[in-house]
């Protein structure tokens, strides 16, 4: 599999930049889902209890 000609170096660079941005965003949401949701849950739980 070779890189098709329509993928000029500029376009390829532009595409990959956006890909890594989106991958980073998805990973950010995945990893923050643990502390974010447990934190929010405890916060709301404490307010309801108090």
């Amino acid at each position: 599999m070779t890189i098709p000609e329509y993928q000029t170096p500029e376009l390829r660079k532009k595409n990959l930049r956006l890909v890594w941005l989106l991958v980073g965003f998805a990973l950010f949401i995945f990893f923050t889902s643990f502390p974010f949701w447990t934190g929010l849950f405890h916060l709301v739980g404490n307010q309801a209890a108090g």
Binding site: P4, N15, L18, I29, W37, V44, G45
Partner: protein, 531 residues
């Protein structure tokens, strides 16, 4: 491959691999789109078979065919197969086929990642099916009886089949996120010169919004099931009250994904309708800008109303009021879309080919599903309806017309473009009528069953529910078997038929209709200029 001097004949044959390599190593958006669609159709039949078994069991009270655990295992698998195996891949198939053709791009931005996104799916589907089968083997543990929501503590007590399911969800999530990234990059970076965002076909817009939604919510589900996996095997207590955790936390994580997932399933079909209705009304879409705005509004509000699935867990009055009002507000942009469709048809020169028949049916039946949705959004009413067959009727009225019929409309609309042959219109209409009548016979009586108090997800029921259940089961057999006709129509069209023209439908507009039917293996190698 030349980008400037490719002749039509060369474009058909140059670089097109043959045999199994063409499919396994494919980086061509059309081939990968076809693979997605074949995969989705296969899973539709598997999910449909499980639904027919469920309805056969419910034909009369008492336990006939399925023991309670197997019944719930089938309910779980039916939902997961239909959502992750059939509807999402079918929508991705339409996106793969049509987005590059519609925006004047030679292919998806990341063809090799496109290949990976698809080929993860069969592996994930195998894991999903293993989760169903494993309990039948010695030492296979208990069956998955949690439903697709996988709520703990039940899901932490299920046998090893739950681990297969968690692994399947991880794989499906990775596939969805990769496909979404590819679609976003393609739509933002690969449009033909002159095609601004606000000139894109609405189908492309619908996928742009859907792809962002997927990236926002799928990692949260992945986080949730990972925490579940940790609770099951690594001694953590995220959802275990005995260790300081709380099972309700999982419900929040699940529905933060689960509710936007409904819009992930719906929006691509809304995009299809936005292409089909103008074509067969022979008028431009009414309210292009408001349509884009409505989709963005649905996605945004849909992200922050998840807990309307959890009214009965004991939230504060303030919280349930917020979730109720937010949920009801969603009916405004959804209503706007419906009004736009009706306004497009208004005084149009309408004809009723199969895609348009599905489109009109969707406008009517999806609106009905929306109305029962507003009923369920109201907290005191939901306290009565929750976990009843009324909910089952509601979400099938939303998801079957809203998502599946929209995909059928898309398949019939673009089948001539994909295959180069017109499908048999008489058979198409026959399929539509059997399908829609079967659907209504199946699910309409379930409203009454729910209102009379029949609970969902239970294998047996009180004698008083017998008649409506019999009607519903008979409808399900008609509805299920009608899909064999769909398969026949598709195979017949692929094998031959009247030659389709470039512009297969008189009122069709857009770049995809400038290309041959079927289009060459490589298309738009020279980007079109959009005025």
């Amino acid at each position: 491959m030349s980008t400037t001097t490719l002749t039509h004949d060369e474009a058909h044959h140059h670089d097109a691999p043959h045999g199994w390599r063409r499919w396994l190593f494919s980086t061509n958006h059309k081939d990968i789109g076809t693979l997605y669609l074949i995969f989705a159709l296969t899973m539709l039949f598997l999910g449909g078979a499980s639904a027919m078994l469920i309805r056969l069991e419910l034909f009369q009270p008492g336990i006939q065919l399925l023991d309670p655990d197997l019944y719930n295992n089938l309910v779980t698998n039916h939902a997961l197969i239909m959502i992750f195996g059939a509807v999402m891949p079918a929508a991705a198939g339409l996106a793969n086929w049509m987005i590059p053709l519609m925006i004047g791009a030679p292919d998806m931005a990341l063809p090799r990642m496109n290949n990976l996104s698809f080929w993860i799916l069969p592996a994930a589907a195998s894991m999903l099916l293993l989760s169903f089968i494993v309990p039948f083997f010695p030492g296979g543990g208990t069956q998955i009886n949690t439903g697709w929501t996988l709520y703990p503590p039940l899901s932490t007590q299920v046998g090893m089949s739950m681990d297969f399911l968690i692994f399947a969800i991880h794989l499906l999530g990775i596939s969805s996120v990769l496909a979404s990234i590819n679609i976003i990059v393609t739509l933002l970076n690969m449009r033909a010169p002159g095609m601004t965002l606000m000139k894109m076909p609405i189908f492309c817009w619908s996928w742009l919004v859907t792809a962002f939604l997927l990236i926002l919510v799928v990692p949260v589900l992945a986080g949730g099931v990972t925490m579940l996996l940790f609770d099951r095997h690594f001694g953590t207590s995220f959802f275990d009250a005995a260790g300081g955790g709380d099972p309700v936390l999982f419900q929040h994580l699940f529905w933060f994904f689960g509710h936007p997932e409904v819009y992930i399933l719906l929006l691509p079909s809304i995009g299809v309708l936005s292409q089909v209705i103008p074509t067969f009304s022979r008028k431009p879409l009414f309210g292009y800008h408001s349509m884009v705005g409505a989709m963005l509004a649905v996605a945004t509000i849909g992200m922050v109303v998840w807990a309307h699935h959890q009214y009965t867990i004991g939230m504060s009055i303030g919280a349930v009021t917020y979730f109720m009002i937010g949920t009801i507000i969603i009916s405004i942009p959804v209503g706007l879309m419906i009004f736009n469709f009706i306004a497009t048809m208004w005084r149009g020169s309408m004809t009723f080919e199969t895609p348009m028949l599905f489109a009109v049916a969707i406008v009517l039946m999806f609106t009905f599903g929306g109305l029962t949705g507003v009923m369920l959004a109201v907290v005191p009413a939901d306290m009565q309806y929750q976990d009843s067959m009324f909910v089952v009727a509601h979400f099938h009225y939303v998801l079957l017309p809203g998502a599946v019929f929209g995909l059928f409309a898309g398949v019939f609309y673009w089948l001539p473009k994909w295959t180069g042959h017109m499908y048999d219109e008489r058979l198409g209409k026959l399929f539509f009528w059997i399908n829609v009548i079967g659907f209504n016979i199946t699910f309409f009586p379930q409203h009454f069953l729910g209102l009379a108090g029949m609970p969902r997800r239970i294998v047996d029921y009180n004698m008083m529910f017998t008649e409506f259940n019999m009607v519903s089961s008979l409808g399900a057999m008609i509805f299920g078997l009608s899909h064999l006709l769909l398969l026949y129509i598709i195979i017949k069209t692929v094998r031959g038929g009247r030659k389709a023209e470039k512009r297969s439908w008189e009122g069709a507009k857009g770049l995809e209709w400038e290309l041959d039917s079927p289009p060459a293996f490589h298309t738009w190698t020279v980007a079109p200029q959009i005025k």
